[in-house]
Symmetry: C2
């Protein structure tokens, strides 16, 4: 048993459920909170505890539930800063990304993912959804263990001390209507959806997974470009039968919508809806270019949308319709996706700040709504209904933000939540607990030499 | 004499002159550069110096010229995190801002500005343009020393170790066409433009200024709302006679354009042009909502536009036309304005990232263009033609960015410039030299306890 005494703690219910009714962040911040952890769960929470009880671990600053990074491609971390030659067009990025995807093997992938996941925990993410489609060897043949790449990701998450939902992704064709796979894309494809399901079921039943408290598996449709409607239906059924999360890239760029309308006479969201994919276990990733009907479909089905603002900036995708989604009571979460940036605060505030740029209106999402997107909703999207909030019985995932940096100095209890949402960075994260284990203390990852391992693993994958 | 040996240094000319021809950042990064400083200037630069010469100070990481923060309202720092109650509308912000402006006195202003300027240096800004209009006492009467508030800012900059251009701002009316001043606005007004000029001339000739190497004075028109065209002409003439920088808030929000068109039949830019304000010493601050003709006027006159992206996000101003400005060969610089964020990297990269969101196109501004905006162009805008570049004879203002944080680990010399533009934060600034003096070392301000002084000075101004 460990007792943590928090100078300040955000005890919001954290659920951005109906129409913007997330907590008022200021009202949910309490001064003097003791959190008792037994095993990997929160056993008790006491408020108005003026001073640390004897033996308690003192956490100065604002303690929050751990953040969930609901959309990640771990290997993209090696692209950071390397896609801006000359001015850095979209093609600069895409060519570099495929070049990288072609070089990885299980060892280099594990090393890179371990360092990347460790960077996430250091930044305050205690859970990650890895959208994993790099399944096979460089010639597109299955490894002897067909899940060797997935196992590498699982080992990486365990080493880094982060919860993982492996979103095992089906990728079958190089373009809408069954386009041929390019050489590198052959690494992504299982051949058909039956082979995909067989491989994923083998993973779910493997020793790696059985008995793990920190790893879960979900399904994913890469996109309507890479998976035909019949296969999408099969994947949706697979996920329903296992009550597993189901994710898909949706409408990240206008060209995808154009191609989908031309091929099917429907938007990507409509295709997914007709295939039975939508519902409370479904997360549409990006959802940048939606029609009003698309938004209504997500609202009526109880689906979640995962915005990835720092990537959507970097790739010039555009600004997602977060105001319309909130008005339709669609829950939103966030992901760092391509890892141009790994910082939960930068991600959640961008949801509101980009909406301001698009609408010239301030205050669509409240600070409590943005915390909810980063914590409870993200965990729900990844199938962790028992994480992402400071509540009795929840998994003991705690992130403590120091308030003494020059970014945050001068705030007080009343304004701490808004100050953290709008001015904190990952550098302000002082202490991270995952499942009752201290993973970050005094701003240092306790198990991994981050600078060294990032440097080594990134340089290893580039010539 | 001090010799600095830089592991990497960006030696770009730093001038974003015609049509996007800024340096290719990667090509301008050199490994092993020694910079010899004599007094407050750079006396020599040697490249291909493999190891630190005996006695040299070793600077690990990427050394850049100091950044210029071309638009600041120092007192707004106390608003950070305090304008988001409930959801935080524009009016939440504006009411809090005026409440704050009403409470300040010379002592509290000096303390707050000292801490804020120190936060800037800590973040890599070695020069600030303070757009200063809080001239008089709480009842709008001149202090015994009419420049007591300006002197407080000058003292603050000197204590913080930052160069200052005091942009003394004329503010005469509460709305376009001569609207009455509200009680708090009476603190801003000198009564008429003649009184403004008289007060500023007294400041320029005062002991505070004469002989200072780190403080200069420029003029500013608050906006076409607060200053009538005739007075604008007088201010433009004042600045021309003194070869001083001239700044104005321009077209930050659409309402300003609407009011200006209704009153004068011209845009704010056209009014300023007709008053003789435009030219190479003129900087239009914000310039968010411009017509094509406005852009052409800035291009043909050689004016500068100062974008303040983090503030323009926070206040829902919108995205400025940086692509159109670049196409018209208008030089751009940046400012942190309301200090929702004080981070030069966040500011410069937002110029490109917001353009991507507006146009869905990647790569309008190159990394070297963005460094130029943050350094040489910003200094030029503030009247420091001899600063903002690493060149023989330039003022010795150096900022060294460490490359070992989890944000930057894994980069190499070829990609260091782009990695710093797109992934660094103020926390990566390890070492800052201003005029040959070390102000920040090992990430700590050498003269000021930043956390303490920010906390004290901010809490002092709020009840």
């Amino acid at each position: 048993m460990t007792v943590y005494w928090c100078e300040l703690a955000w005890l919001g219910t954290g659920d951005a459920d109906a129409a913007g009714s997330g907590d008022d962040a200021a009202g949910a911040v309490h001064a003097g909170v003791s959190i008792t952890v037994v095993g990997d769960r929160i056993a008790a929470i006491d408020t108005e505890v003026a001073a640390p009880p004897p033996g308690a671990v003192r956490l100065e600053g604002l303690t929050l539930p751990g953040f969930a990074n609901a959309h990640s491609h771990a290997f993209h971390r090696a692209l950071r800063g390397r896609t801006h030659a000359d001015a850095g067009s979209f093609w600069t990025w895409r060519e570099r990304m495929y070049e990288l995807a072609a070089t990885l093997d299980p060892d280099s992938y594990r090393a890179l993912a371990t360092a990347t996941f460790a960077e996430m925990v250091r930044a305050g993410f205690t859970c990650v959804g890895e959208f994993h489609y790099l399944h096979h060897d460089r010639l597109g043949r299955p490894y002897t263990n067909a899940n060797e790449m997935g196992d590498a990701l699982i080992g990486a998450a365990q080493a880094a001390g982060i919860r993982l939902t492996l979103l095992d992704t089906c990728y079958l064709s190089g373009g809408i209507g069954g386009g041929e796979l390019s050489p590198v894309q052959r690494r992504f494809s299982d051949g058909d959806v039956g082979m995909w399901a067989e491989r994923v079921d083998a993973l779910v039943g493997s020793d790696t997974l059985v008995g793990s408290d920190t790893v879960r598996v979900g399904g994913a449709v890469h996109s309507v470009r890479a998976v035909d409607p019949k296969s999408i239906s099969t994947i949706a059924e697979w996920a329903a039968n296992r009550s597993a999360p189901l994710h898909a890239h949706v409408s990240e760029q206008p060209a995808e919508n154009d191609q989908c309308l031309a091929a099917y006479g429907r938007t990507p969201t409509e295709v997914l809806a007709d295939c039975g994919a939508l519902g409370p276990r479904f997360t549409a990733v990006h959802a940048t270019h939606l029609t009003g009907h698309d938004v209504a479909l997500y609202g009526s089905s109880g689906s979640i949308c995962c915005l990835c603002p720092t990537t959507e900036r970097d790739l010039a995708d555009g600004i997602g319709p977060s105001g319309a989604l909130r008005a339709a009571a669609v829950a939103m979460c966030v992901g760092t996706d391509s890892h141009a940036v790994i910082d939960p605060f930068e991600e959640i505030r961008a949801v509101e700040l980009d909406e301001r740029l698009a609408t010239l209106r301030r205050g669509t999402h409240r600070p409590g709504d943005l915390f909810a997107a980063g914590t409870a909703v993200g965990h729900r999207s990844l199938g962790w209904h028992d994480a992402g909030r400071l509540a009795i019985g929840a998994l003991a995932d705690l992130v403590t933000v120091g308030l003494s940096s020059s970014r945050l100095a001068g705030t007080d209890a009343l304004h701490a939540a808004a100050a953290v949402v709008y001015a904190a960075t990952s550098d302000d994260v002082h202490h991270v607990v995952v499942g009752g284990q201290v993973v970050v203390s005094d701003r240092m990852h306790q198990r991994i030499d981050l600078a060294r391992d990032l440097r080594r693993s990134i340089r290893q994958v580039w010539p």
